[in-house]
Symmetry: C2
Subunit: 226 residues, 2 copies
Amino acid sequence: MTRPCILCAAITGSVARKEDNPAVPITVAEQVESLQDCFEAGAAIAHCHVRNDDQSPSADPETFARLMEGIRKHCPGMIVQVSTGGRSGVGAVRGGMLPLCPDMASLAVGSNNFPTRVYENPPDLVDWLASEMQKYDVKPEIEAFDLSHIFQAVTMARDGRLKAPLYVQFVMGVKNAMPADRPSFEFYVQTLKRIAPDAEWCGAGIGRHQIEVNEWSMALGGHTRT
Amino acid sequence: MTRPCILCAAITGSVARKEDNPAVPITVAEQVESLQDCFEAGAAIAHCHVRNDDQSPSADPETFARLMEGIRKHCPGMIVQVSTGGRSGVGAVRGGMLPLCPDMASLAVGSNNFPTRVYENPPDLVDWLASEMQKYDVKPEIEAFDLSHIFQAVTMARDGRLKAPLYVQFVMGVKNAMPADRPSFEFYVQTLKRIAPDAEWCGAGIGRHQIEVNEWSMALGGHTRT
Ligand SMILES: [Zn+2]
Ligand SMILES: [Zn+2]
Ligand SMILES: [Zn+2]
Ligand SMILES: [Zn+2]
């Protein structure tokens, strides 16, 4: 039997602006339209960020609610994954949309450097986000920006802070964090199989590393992320 | 020819207090006495932290100067490595002792979680500490708390921010960071050999993992840290 490969479409993120690329969907209407194209092309998961009117990143629950409503209407059955990443706010603000019960939410379980700053995910915030996800029955996608994050997710699953089976995304190619390195990618996959054999995983390469990391992922039996 | 194994003695750190263990050397006089024992027992590097009178961690250059003077006098030839770790201060304070020109200094090149907080090493602070080390001819010991930190150190060496050959310490067993995991340790060693073949390295296990990680290190041709 062929194993299906999940395609997760991340269309907006929190960085790129119209000035950088006029095709970036920013408003809810633009995002829904773009996600409908993705959905019709075979994407199963919509990885969602929302923006303020000035295009700056936001975690506003009301905007997320409108986006989720649009996706449900125009992409029936598409899995909605909201970002709880740190670019859209600080502290509990990052999880303010979880009571909307999206299907999934991203969850960073450790800290690391980003191009110009520390990506701060302090242990108490991680635990709070994880508990909110359990409360609202939201499936976390673990964002593994480094090797220890894989171990941390498995530790959290073992002591009940996360529900198994885990879904882990290996993120590579962020400046000052893990580069896109094939042997490390393979070691990530081996490690996850060793310590959490029932986990599913996907590879995400940032920027110019996107296709490369998706190819590694498909070759090794994982899922993909645009 | 037998390859010598360097033993680095870390006697004080920034956490343990007399209440935890009356044998912890806190004052400069206690530290010099303890380091003399280590030196006579074969330790080649003294990894140094200083404390305030109330035992709280400090980065006070004057206290470091007195400690260095004591080590030079009582342990002639012992390599002095000062800590620039984040428990003893925030920002540039962490490098305030570098103008004393110690032989070595610890250098974290990335961020990660610690048991209760984020160990923050923002890119600009890392670059500043590295440049101060070049300025005062201080050899950095890279503290690799995660896999990406190895890559980051090699990137910094390639673009001139660090001087090759690198000396890298693999730190394992910190809660919420990398656990003491033998396959990961071996992958660390392999990775460093692959991307920086001239580097030297040592293993440091925290707390109850100390002996275990030192044994792995010796078995694989690395150096050790108490
Ligand atoms: Zn995202
Ligand atoms: Zn994904
Ligand atoms: Zn130290
Ligand atoms: Zn060492």
